[in-house]
Symmetry: C2
Subunit: 238 residues, 2 copies
Amino acid sequence: MGMRMLGVLGGMGPLASAEFMRRLTLLTPAERDQDHIPTLLLSDPRVPDRTAARLAGGEDPLPALLRGIRILEQGGAEAIVIPCNTAHGWYEEMQAATRLPILHIVDAAVRDLARQGIGAGQPIGVLATAGTLAMGLYQQRLSALGHPCLVPEEAEMRELVSPGIALVKANRVEDAYPPLAEAARRLHGRGAAAVVLGCTEIPLGIAAGPALPFPVVDSIEALARAAIAWARAEEEGR
Amino acid sequence: MGMRMLGVLGGMGPLASAEFMRRLTLLTPAERDQDHIPTLLLSDPRVPDRTAARLAGGEDPLPALLRGIRILEQGGAEAIVIPCNTAHGWYEEMQAATRLPILHIVDAAVRDLARQGIGAGQPIGVLATAGTLAMGLYQQRLSALGHPCLVPEEAEMRELVSPGIALVKANRVEDAYPPLAEAARRLHGRGAAAVVLGCTEIPLGIAAGPALPFPVVDSIEALARAAIAWARAEEEGR
């Protein structure tokens, strides 16, 4: 009853935010409405494209991200999650601008590797936007933990991963499955013990077809688990 | 880019709110993030139970509902939807307390009958909470439009509908299918040309099994369609 409110800075994309809300609900042990985590979601799809900003001189998303954080703060949120990996390229600036903890999606995804029993030293594949890969968001953390890191080749980004992500943003999840699944299979074929779906559109496409026959880390689900762990720790800390 | 923000007073239950966000996204014609409707969702599962308040002297939900509306107003919402049918028993009090239009879920559901080609005069079955049925939220509107109205018997409410709704709130959507589908089939068997799923938990349970072989109105989807129509009208009105 006294649970603290989670803030979700979302809309990047909106389907990923909706799926985050669904996973958050389904992964929370609950018998009735009142057992669930109060949540304030700002789904603001007007935030300028993160990859375009990083790689092609597009409009800076930081002002929109900070406006969103202000809305969540004013609405009573006590921690923030952002179901968009690429937006974490502005993590330090966002965290510096709020007293609320921002639970980092890459930390959450990396923690999920351990939950799935994938130990240090094992090679990990990463599917993500060109922006996330160029910023090295996953490569840095995985390397620090002793994981060799495999990423798609440039042609694979252009022909499989980027089009797959765009199809999800256009609500065409079934069409997104073949290119995204093929990109994941190739990383696995090159030796990845697991593949991180490090863009929140990717698990939506991958869920639209047959399950992949190797471990994957779904960054939406990993972030939902991190949010539930935060809510539980807050409850116990009272 | 200049789209106005929709406010969603949700969490009643939280899975229905997540599903509302998913439907809103999937039903919006979009090619990229920026084509979607900016939305602020307060998912507050702490709102006291609406049916218990109406039928069993439980805590009044109105103060919590009004606090939620205030958060949505302050966050910049310009219209409000509430993906909970029973909460519409407090519609007049909520609408009197805000200058923002609240799009009524029963209006949205009734409009969906016409969209599906079900004309006046045809009998309509209504599955809803005991609170919604006792308040006559659907019966009044449907009667005014010339639809004879069929509702479950008291034993069916106790043995099928109320337990089915509770199972969804406890995240057990597969277990909710058999009782909810059986209740819908019985209304159809008694002559309903269509069955309104007039509690936002019910479509979640019904979606967990085989599609029913007669028309149903999903109040979550109907409300999403109403929200999209609002956003489009706002755009055109500029």
